[in-house]
């Protein structure tokens, strides 16, 4: 495992926090963790024939990556966010993890571009500078950077294993440039690894029905290949898309498998996953742990706010929630409003 610290993350985090000392600090009234980006894909002609799976017990390392971001609050000049990432692996029946972070950033209008592009350059030097994301996207974009770094680290250090990603292998979005993901997949392949990407919530539909709901009656464990997908440019699919129904019950997930891997190896990789990891509700335990370990709990959020207050002498401001103020019990808060 490559345990080199993401040094630039730390430097930028501390640097950004130093510039907010003694600012009034409004605690966040909503939480934002793990947002999946919407994809504009439509399935055309799925092969209805399911691929049955036989769990393979061959000793294989299962590794997974996940990251979380959260907005801790606002200052007069910007927002304070926290990011954390986790790699989890299962080797010889034991789980292990590496958790990096939390990194806390003070993002302002002035430093938003600098922070993002500095990190982008530090980890993906070949990547061109991008237009800086807005305040709303920055937590997820920063978390994505950390996620890619963790994925790249796993791809380099794990050999002949299965690497699980959270999300799809669709590239060409602002968070996932094609070159970046291609590079990671290439490295993983060169080490004999297969990348499987599980999407918890998909928007992909077949005949108007979500693909994950369309084949729930198939006998598990099985895969259903969703062929002939035509993503709208600039989106690029770097994986073949399947519906994975790995256990009994009403759960199935979209599963993207590295397109460059031969078809037989793709199926074998899922069979190895079945034989080497615990699968609950069609979802692998390693990936579930990665998610659990990186998610911020309310306790941690309070602790980070305490840290900021103690270390950077931020004054807490209790700015009233306008929805509550105006509409009383009918004001459901800003988070609810945004969801609407």
């Amino acid at each position: 495992m490559d345990v080199t610290l993401p040094q630039r993350f730390i430097e930028l985090s501390i640097h950004s926090l130093k510039h907010m000392q003694s600012n009034p600090f409004q605690l966040n009234q909503q939480t934002l963790q793990q947002n999946s980006s919407l994809e504009q894909l439509h399935a055309m002609q799925p092969k209805i024939q399911p691929i049955p799976l036989n769990p393979k017990q061959t000793e294989t390392t299962i590794a997974a990556v996940d990251t979380s971001s959260i907005k801790l609050g606002e200052t007069s000049r910007g927002i304070i966010i926290a990011i954390r990432g986790t790699s989890v692996w299962k080797k010889r029946r034991n789980y292990g993890y590496l958790r990096v972070g939390p990194f806390i950033f003070h993002i302002t209008e002035e430093n938003i571009k600098e922070v993002y592009n500095t990190l982008l350059k530090a980890y993906f030097p070949e990547q061109n500078s991008q237009a800086s994301p807005g305040f709303a996207q920055i937590p997820i974009r920063m978390a994505n950077l950390l996620e890619r770094w963790l994925q790249a680290s796993l791809a380099k250090t794990v050999s002949n294993g299965i690497i699980l990603f959270d999300g799809s292998l669709t590239a060409g979005t602002p968070d996932t440039p094609v070159h970046q993901l291609k590079e990671i997949l290439h490295t993983a392949r060169s080490m004999g690894n297969t990348v499987l990407a599980f999407t918890k919530v998909t928007t992909l539909r077949f005949n108007g029905q979500l693909i994950t709901d369309a084949w729930l009656n198939q006998k598990p464990p099985c895969l259903i290949e969703i062929a002939n997908l035509k993503p709208k440019p600039p989106l690029v699919l770097l994986g073949d898309v399947y519906v994975a129904k790995l256990t009994n019950g009403n759960c199935a997930f979209r599963l993207d498998i590295d397109r460059e891997v031969p078809t037989l190896h793709k199926v074998e990789a899922v069979e190895k996953l079945l034989g080497n990891d615990l699968i609950t509700h069609s979802y692998p335990e390693t990936l579930r742990l990665a998610h659990i370990l990186c998610t911020f709990t309310a306790n941690e959020v309070i602790a980070m706010q305490h840290f900021i207050q103690q270390k950077y002498s931020l004054k807490l401001v209790n700015r009233p929630d306008m929805h509550r103020l105006l509409f009383g019990p009918f004001g459901k808060g800003e988070s609810h409003n945004e969801a609407v």
């Binding site: 985090s13 034991n94 958790r99 972070g101 939390p102 335990e285 305490h306």
Partner: protein, 483 residues
């Protein structure tokens, strides 16, 4: 510490891990603007209800109940802050008083500012200064948690009803011995109804040498060095014995009174003559039989004698104690239930007789497991009538339910040792001078030799004290099989 909530006279305070506060501690909640402060006592320490703690704990145990092995790279060192928040505690406190200026009042009718109040620990020594717990006749009970001494005033035991209770082997007898020896220092007259012969060694050090109290301890063992002659007895005392201890019916008691008058007039008040008189008395055969059975119970007790030289005058011991202070230990060990009741009836009767005639000023009575020898009607007598005569009782028991509820209600001081049984705590919590929550919460966690002092001795500020060691010979140990 931060003031969090107030409900009734309970205050909840948020405390952080670097603030060491334990059950029983006193805190001062000071509102500078109001110019007042609340004195509160911590009666329970709980985990603060921090959101997300359950998730935190659950995710540390996902691998079949075993800790998942891993490494955390925490460059900003947030982890200590997480544990700091996670370990924050909620102190459940009972309001004891309000400090306003120099004075203390039991009021809890005002509310200190949540944002502006400062909360700090109130040392017991400071509390005592505020509450003016001092006195001219100090008795050092032991040490508080802060290593300061808990000194009570002997006058706070004077004229009071006290209860020492707690489960077995927690140090009840030890405390009562400490109180007895301390009272002796102030020349008090003490009578101990010693069920297990534990107090006989009060005049000796642990290594068997004489101590400062040696000459003040008078151990009287019934039928050995404690016997009474009939002509030393007042008829009322003997009738009390016959009626209450030996359950003599009223008709027979009336005949006995006549026999007694007859013998007294003849100047023949001896056991032998009493037996002869019953035999020859003209009365109903059933009455005769009843009187005979009681007569033989008296003879068999060995407590009564015709030999004046053998008879010990309880009065003498009490008068001796009156001058210089002294403890009369009535050793009831190896005495049968009936004989025990005869002896106790005699002692209490004698005490009332001497006190009513002002031959004695007052007596501190220590009664261990009194339910084993005290008749039902005496309980009320002791807390009401006898108190006015000058018998100030301290009950010592490990079965709190054997003491009647009205005794708890009227108790002025309670020295409470550890109890784990809910029912026992429930009984004690009926005492008027303390709230049930304090009793139940603090007494449950008291270590051995620690007691919760409640009542007038501590000016109604419950204090946990480690009872000080006493260099007296331990007696009445439990006989063991394996040692």
């Amino acid at each position: 510490m931060k003031l969090y909530k107030k409900e009734g006279n309970i205050i909840q305070i948020l405390s952080f891990p670097n603030e060491t506060v334990e059950k029983g501690d006193y805190l001062l909640v000071e509102d500078a603007e109001a110019g007042k402060a609340l004195i509160v006592q911590v009666i329970d320490v709980q985990f603060a209800n921090i959101p997300g703690v359950l998730e935190e704990l659950l995710r540390s145990l996902p691998d079949g109940g075993e800790l998942i092995q891993g490494e955390d790279i925490d460059p900003l060192e947030i982890a200590p802050h997480i544990t700091y928040i996670q370990d924050s505690r909620l102190l459940i406190c009972k309001i004891r008083a309000t400090v306003e200026g120099e004075g203390l009042s039991p009021s809890s009718s005002w509310l200190p500012s949540r944002s502006q109040s400062t909360i700090k620990k109130l040392p017991i020594s400071m509390l005592f200064k505020l509450a003016k717990v001092d006195g001219k006749l100090p008795i050092v009970l032991g040490g508080t948690k802060e290593a300061s001494l808990l000194t009570i005033d002997a006058t706070s035991l004077d004229g009071r009803l006290n209860i020492i209770t707690g489960k077995k082997e927690t140090g009840k007898s030890h405390l009562s011995k400490l109180l007895i020896t301390s009272l002796l220092q102030y020349k008090a007259t003490v009578v101990v109804l010693d069920l297990n012969g534990e107090y006989a060694g009060l005049g000796m050090t642990s290594d068997g040498k004489r101590n400062a109290y040696y000459n003040k301890i008078h151990v009287l063992t019934p039928s050995q060095n404690f016997k009474v002659a009939l002509n030393q007895l007042h008829l009322n005392v003997l009738l009390n014995i016959l009626i209450n201890a030996l359950h003599l019916p009223g008709t027979s008691a009336r005949e006995f009174r006549r026999i007694w008058q007859f013998l007294k007039e003849k100047g023949n008040l001896t056991l032998h003559e009493l037996g002869e008189a019953i035999r020859n008395w003209h009365c109903n055969q059933n009455v005769r039989d009843a009187l005979f059975s009681r007569y033989y119970a008296m003879v068999n007790s060995g407590f009564f004698t015709d030999n004046i030289a053998e008879a010990t005058l309880l009065e003498e011991c009490l008068f001796k104690a009156r001058e210089e202070g002294g403890a009369i230990i009535i050793n009831l060990r190896n005495t049968s239930t009936i004989d025990r009741q005869i002896v106790v009836e005699y002692v209490l009767g004698k005490l009332v007789e001497l006190l009513t005639s002002w031959k004695l000023k007052a007596v501190f009575l220590f009664a261990e497991e009194a339910h084993l020898y005290l008749r039902e009607t005496y309980w009320d007598d002791i807390v009401t009538r006898m108190r006015h005569f000058g018998i100030f009782t301290t009950f010592i028991t490990n079965q709190p339910d054997t003491i009647r509820e009205n005794i708890y209600r009227q108790a002025d001081n309670i020295f409470l040792f550890n109890f784990t049984n809910e029912n026992d705590l429930e009984v004690v919590s009926r005492a008027a001078r303390v709230d049930a929550e304090t009793v139940k919460s603090i007494a449950r966690d008291l270590p051995p030799h620690h007691c919760l002092a409640l009542g007038k001795v501590v000016k109604d500020f419950p204090i946990v004290v480690k009872v000080k060691a006493l260099d007296v010979k331990t007696m009445g140990e439990t006989r063991l099989f394996f040692i």
